[in-house]
Symmetry: C2
Amino acid sequence: MKKVGVAILGLGVVGGGTYKILTDKKEFFKKTQGVDVTVEAVLEKYVERADALGIGKDKVASSIEEVCSNPAVDIVVEVIGGVEPAKTFVLKALMSGKTVVTSNKELFAKHWPELEEKARKMNVGLFFEASCVGGVPIIRTLIDGMQANDIKSIKGIINGTTNYILTKMALEGSTYEEALKEAQRLGYAEFNPTADVEGFDATYKLSILSSLAFNTKIAIENVHREGITSITKEDIAYGKELGYTIKLLAVGKNTDKGIEVRVHPAYVPNGNPLATVNDSFNAVHLVGDSVGEIMLYGRGAGALPTGSAIVSDVIFAAKHQTYYYTYFKNNEKGVKETNFTDDFTSQYFIRLSVKDLKGVLSKISGVLAKNNISIKEAKQVAEKEGVVPMVIVTHECAESSVNKALEKIKATAGVISVDSVIRIED
Amino acid sequence: MKKVGVAILGLGVVGGGTYKILTDKKEFFKKTQGVDVTVEAVLEKYVERADALGIGKDKVASSIEEVCSNPAVDIVVEVIGGVEPAKTFVLKALMSGKTVVTSNKELFAKHWPELEEKARKMNVGLFFEASCVGGVPIIRTLIDGMQANDIKSIKGIINGTTNYILTKMALEGSTYEEALKEAQRLGYAEFNPTADVEGFDATYKLSILSSLAFNTKIAIENVHREGITSITKEDIAYGKELGYTIKLLAVGKNTDKGIEVRVHPAYVPNGNPLATVNDSFNAVHLVGDSVGEIMLYGRGAGALPTGSAIVSDVIFAAKHQTYYYTYFKNNEKGVKETNFTDDFTSQYFIRLSVKDLKGVLSKISGVLAKNNISIKEAKQVAEKEGVVPMVIVTHECAESSVNKALEKIKATAGVISVDSVIRIED
């Protein structure tokens, strides 16, 4: 039976889960996969983490060099996260001829070409299923399941923390702050939640997923990013009334105007399958010109779900050791030059406070019409102390037109404030 | 660039879709996949089908031998369906050293070990993604995405025809016969719909999917099978009232008592994601001990969705020509001896007509209690001409207990008939 040695860099949540699966299931893998996988080394600066997992001192390496020069190690699992020292470690492992399996979306989104080049040069594998959407095999689906498709769009809920917060706000009427606090208490959100709530994490993942979907490199700088920190109870409540659920969506579209990639909160109509993806669950919806619609759904994070993706890559690499994941080099393989567009179209929900509906509505309608925006629905909500809340839902129109119109609307007599502008994606 | 030649056996719906994708996207595959795929031959007894697709006479083979001896053909796509002549053709192709890609669930479910043995002997590929759930990459997910998991259950809506019929009955109040007729008119159901409506098609697919999920061969004879022909408007209506949607479910579970595999209509609670899978869409829900829940959703049939799966296998085989899909031989790899159980547990919905509720309910309750079945809900529906319709929902209990109890209940004084017994699966 084929014997394969693994080193794990980092014994945090995902590293611990990976270690547990690999050791608890050693016999299972021998039986079902025909490979004998052993964790030969770990690298972790907090020694107590290795102790807590019952890892003997002989397996705790003191440096990346020790891991790389260990002939018993075939596959290096990097689950440290962040750019450094992960990047240096991964490059060293690749250059030592080790296949690398990583869950590191930030590293991958920022330095994929460089890592790819080294892997290619050394003819070793570079696997990253765990970098996006936890245990859901979205990377493998995009690479090995969708080849027959020119993918038209990818839409996903790909950050568990924000989905937990938004679900809590929707189901329990919590404020953003309350829901965030609860998420932190439960370990779903970090003490410093910026990477999640400001959409950075989703941006890294969308950059990776849309690069695969559209066969071209999409850098994080190309992704329009908005977080969820300004979403209010009112936004949730108004959405409910209109039949929408608010989600932090990652959207990639390959349109005639170019590729658009964006992460932002959006209203999803309740009939859309993405609207019912709750708590820390994730889902990715694809439209391909052959396959039509498909959707994958599952846990986007956590020790065992993410460990499941890591171990799936480890087993795959153990069974098929030749270099496998090919990066799509722009032009080199003849893929079209990438055109990006940030003037995407959407429907828009606009919530305003006005002094008096009469007159104001006709002025606003005029501004919208001048900007080629037609109104699908406009309604006034109960007046409170001389302030009339009003919501407008537009038909599909260009982002740039909406921005222009909003400038004018803000300056219109009778308009107190524009309180919310939320895109509607179905 | 690697050149790969393909032969297509059968130019029906799926064969036509496959031909179309492979020829229309020749340049796309060169650019995005780095392989140059050409359809070198087709085999089809209805010559007009080749004509309709614009296939030149020089590419229409007159026999399987001609295909097998054509050195330009590397990969043979079998999309004839049914056991013969497909089986003979596939075996000849494998024995000639061609890699085979098939969408043939019946052939695969019935003769997988024999096909596998030949492929292994000849060291060629044998791919079958298109055999189950159309363009949804469920086979690849089970083989290459779930290795870290002891899969506990698989539940799916894996037949588009029956799902179309049941959706139509649910949304439009049609009878089974009306919905079937419409499905036939639209081409969703065959003139002879038996394979779909009696659950054979779903049984073939469940046998394949559960073999992969549970790492052991599950023959179609092991699958308990019931179709949808006896589902009435009343069953749909009562389900609606209780918050259930009726679906033809394929269920596989790996329990302490053994493996249970079954295809039958079931009530699915409306909150369950499977309840909203409508029309000809399919979905498969898995529970793994590492990954937790995951679900894949998409079109389960059709020229292009199924063609998408075929072409995905063709491209994969073209890029990775070594033998790939390994069959899980019982014991050879040490997988546990398979224990099957047909005494599965479920909740049950029982609908009866009784003469008079008083007295009868207490007798029925007594019979159920004696068989260790506890009642979750029992209610009487409006009386019509001396007949009182009555529904009982049980807690989870054993199928064998329910069968025993039903015998007694049918013989109980005051019971006119047992009208429906439907399992509830959440």
